[in-house]
Symmetry: C2
Subunit: 148 residues, 2 copies
């Protein structure tokens, strides 16, 4: 996107995050990585993106310490992409996009991929934002403040 | 982005959400709208984006029922953009990006914009994902399942 530099130095953490992720394809790659995808060929099959576009985005995500390259988990000669701790930190972003999509872009009768709790096998609750003292907060109960 | 149609029909809610938001600039507009920005001139000043780019994105966000046009809140002849219920539903996405940015893109000594609780005037907690029975979940305790 344009104006990358200004966003990378933005005093707003939202701007810096957006700058670091890069583009929507990169976010789709991160979604797949969170679901356990690691091989180039599996990202390719999942995303239906051109090889050179996928290569460029994977390279950028490695440069930005969001993905790392590791030996294949099956002991073969291949290598795989794995999320770093910073990359795994994007889990709530993906969950938030998922829950918004579930609420506004599916007919009630339409089936979709679901995020469930491994142990309980039940869909998870909606993401919750709490105050420091534990109260559940609505968007209206919060405000953005600039540094002094 | 490319492949819009395939994402708009994706069985994955993340894909549909990404398709609907459109691009990162649109997400920055939504961030500003959540912070109370409503006037064209104020979005322009906040984002440092070209007028025609801003116009195009605002128009698309209105078409997608994320923003709506309302009379100015000060009673003047101007109109303003306001988030719809669907638009306000993106609040957790913005909060998640904000918290990732705070964690990974600021030096400890660096100040940044903060999201605080209006009543308590304290920074909010990190977003929490809970199981149906209330347990706090880590990413590893969740799994994505496809419809039968």
């Amino acid at each position: 996107m344009a104006k990358r530099t200004s966003l990378a130095r933005s005093p707003c953490p939202v701007g810096r995050s957006i700058d670091a992720v890069g583009d929507w394809w990169s976010l789709m790659i991160i979604r797949d990585a969170l679901d356990g995808v690691g091989r180039f060929s599996d990202f390719l099959a999942s995303l239906g993106i051109a090889k050179n576009m996928l290569s460029a985005r994977l390279r950028t995500l490695v440069e930005r310490d969001i993905l790392e390259i590791v030996p294949a988990s099956d002991g073969s000669a291949y290598s795989e992409y794995r999320l770093t701790a910073k990359g795994r930190g994007l889990f709530p972003v993906i969950v938030a996009l998922r829950q918004w999509g579930e609420e506004f872009f599916f007919d009630p009768a339409e089936t979709h991929v679901r995020l469930i709790d491994r142990a309980g096998r039940r869909p998870v609750r909606k993401l919750e934002l709490h105050a420091d003292d534990g109260r559940l907060l609505t968007p209206e109960e919060t405000i953005v403040v600039h540094p002094d």
